[in-house]
């Protein structure tokens, strides 16, 4: 491997991290704006930065939509007083936010976000690493994210964080099963490929080729499990602020809390991306039957379409959050083990039979 190639790879990775970080910062803004809209408020609309905020008309509009708010939020995390409780296990206490943050950043290496035509004239994905087992990699690495929460809860050495950590670990284990089971019919449908790019290419033609049309139940189970995995309402057992103060991050503040926070939103974005790739046709537009135009226009268009699909899904996450109340802990466990898992297994068996029948008929 030459040095230039290596530097190019590192640059790409850093760029991607920057984009995902920026997206998660703005996801926080979106969350606040959606919450405000649902509650008839305007949301954050004051933050200005000197040059852009002072522009005649645009500056005013940008300020009103709160475009500079994430900057203020980030600066606040950096400059706040760093509370450090005496009773914590220092090493794990500091390690936990990083452990929560890194898997979220790692999963995106295998996530394709667009398509281009390479020199050979074939469609190729825009991705850091086009892994043959991309979806498995995402599942494996994102399952490591739970350590951040469990460790944070344990290392805080106080009651509420500890309860939050325990709950999170049990919840993650339960819902990962349903998630994997819901995934299998999709993989079977596309000829057993575990490559995300192949799965998207399989649904390229038009909207009625999307997996969500053929496998609504798989999509539903996957989505519910995704909510549980990302610790979002109605499943945010790990930090249920009404009964556990702030759950696992009760003892955290300033930048450490910021890492947890950004990590959570990065998880949501990655999860929405995976759902889009698997069920919503990835970067293909819903209506036009012929695929994207050739050349760089097509690439840019594909990235934009993918971005807006993910954005819509992230919005859906927030919409759900500000609509539904939280499940009780035993209800969460019951839903995971007694409802979703049998449903997922039944779904898997049904689709195995259907796919076998289709193969029989076609022969």
């Amino acid at each position: 491997m030459e040095l230039t190639h290596f530097i190019w790879l590192v640059t790409k990775a850093l760029l991607m991290i920057a984009v995902v970080m920026g997206c998660s910062a703005y996801a926080v803004l979106l969350e606040r704006k959606v919450a405000a809209a649902i509650q008839w408020r305007p949301g954050p609309n004051r933050t200005q930065i000197p040059i852009f905020g002072g522009l005649p008309i645009i500056g005013r509009i940008l300020t009103r939509i709160g475009i500079f708010q994430p900057v203020a939020d980030g600066l606040k995390f950096v400059f706040k007083e760093e509370p450090f409780p005496k009773h914590v296990n220092t090493f794990y206490f500091l390690l936990a936010p990083m452990v929560a943050f890194i898997p979220a950043m790692t999963t995106m290496t295998v996530m394709p976000f667009g398509v281009y035509t390479n020199e050979a004239g074939e469609a190729a994905p825009l991705v850091l690493a086009n892994l043959d087992i991309g979806i498995l990699f995402i599942l494996a690495v994102s399952s490591l994210g739970v350590y951040g929460i469990v460790l944070g809860g344990w290392a805080s050495n106080s009651k509420f964080p500890f309860l939050g950590g325990i709950r999170a670990s049990a919840q993650m284990i339960s819902y990962e099963l349903a998630m994997g089971m819901a995934l299998l019919p999709v993989l079977m449908w596309f000829g057993g490929s575990l490559n995300l790019f192949d799965i998207v290419q399989g649904q390229s033609a038009h909207m009625f080729k999307w997996t969500i049309i053929y496998q609504p139940l798989s999509a539903f189970i996957f989505l519910v499990a995704l909510f549980a995995e990302t610790n979002r309402l109605p499943f945010d057992m790990a930090e249920s602020e009404t009964d556990l103060v702030a759950g696992f991050n009760t003892e955290y503040g300033a930048f450490k809390f910021g890492l947890f926070f950004v990590g959570e939103y990065a998880h949501i974005i990655i999860g929405s991306g995976v759902f889009t790739l698997l069920f919503l046709g990835g970067w293909y537009p819903p209506f036009f039957t012929d695929a994207l135009p050739e050349g760089w226009i097509g690439s840019v268009l594909s990235v934009l379409i993918f971005f807006f699909k993910v954005l819509g899904l992230v919005f859906f996450f927030m919409w759900i959050r500000w609509t539904l109340p939280r499940f009780r802990y035993d209800q969460v466990m019951k839903l995971g083990w007694e409802r979703l898992l049998p449903l997922a297994i039944a779904n898997l068996v049904a689709y195995a039979i259907i796919i076998a029948l289709i193969a029989q008929i076609q022969n």
């Binding site: 008839w40 305007p42 919409w319």
Partner: protein, 179 residues
């Protein structure tokens, strides 16, 4: 009163999946999302203050520009938190308002103590002290929030006085039927 036992009906299958309820809930939040915001953006927009609002107590002058307060000290007595302090004083003989006889030499309202009860306004025989519609009060030091006479007149301004009690008295005196 008879006790009525309400039968708890078992949930139907659709209800047990929670889905219809979730969807209707999503509909409600979406409807609310499309409604305009009702927030008052405070420093730029000010609320409409209702008539009779009792804000910061101020001293007022009558339409001739004469200070109404005659330093009777009733407000000082009635004030529950003892926020008012008056130093009574006379009026210069040569002045036009000499017939009023008295005016406060110094008038202090300690806004750190004031509870906006409005007793001072109620008790004032001269209608000299008014709780006006100013509601946002702030300062950088404790001294700044002990309002002196000058500041109180600045805040109060002039209110029309329809009685002209002292002028009438003077007229009556001149006409020779003082009581």
């Amino acid at each position: 009163m008879a006790i009525k036992v309400v039968e708890r009906k078992p949930l139907s299958l659709a209800e047990r999946t929670y889905l219809p309820q979730i969807i209707s809930g999503l509909g409600i939040t979406m409807k609310n999302m499309l409604k305009p915001a009702v927030t008052l953006e405070y420093p730029e927009e000010r609320p409409d203050i209702p008539v009779g609002y009792r804000g910061v107590p101020t001293l007022v002058k009558d339409s001739n520009g004469r200070e109404k307060c005659v330093s009777c000290q009733l407000c000082e007595f009635v004030c529950p938190p003892k926020a008012i302090r008056i130093t009574p004083g006379g009026i210069d003989e040569s002045s036009e308002d000499a017939h009023v006889e008295k005016a406060p030499q110094e008038f202090e309202i300690n806004m750190l103590r004031c509870i906006y009860c409005g007793y001072c306004q109620e008790v004032c025989p001269e209608e000299a002290i008014w709780l006006q519609n100013m509601f946002s009060l702030n300062g950088l030091s404790r001294e700044e929030l002990i309002f002196k006479k000058k500041k109180l007149y600045e805040l109060g301004g002039t209110l029309p006085d329809n009685h002209f009690k002292w002028d009438k008295k003077q007229d009556a005196e001149k006409a020779g039927n003082a009581h």
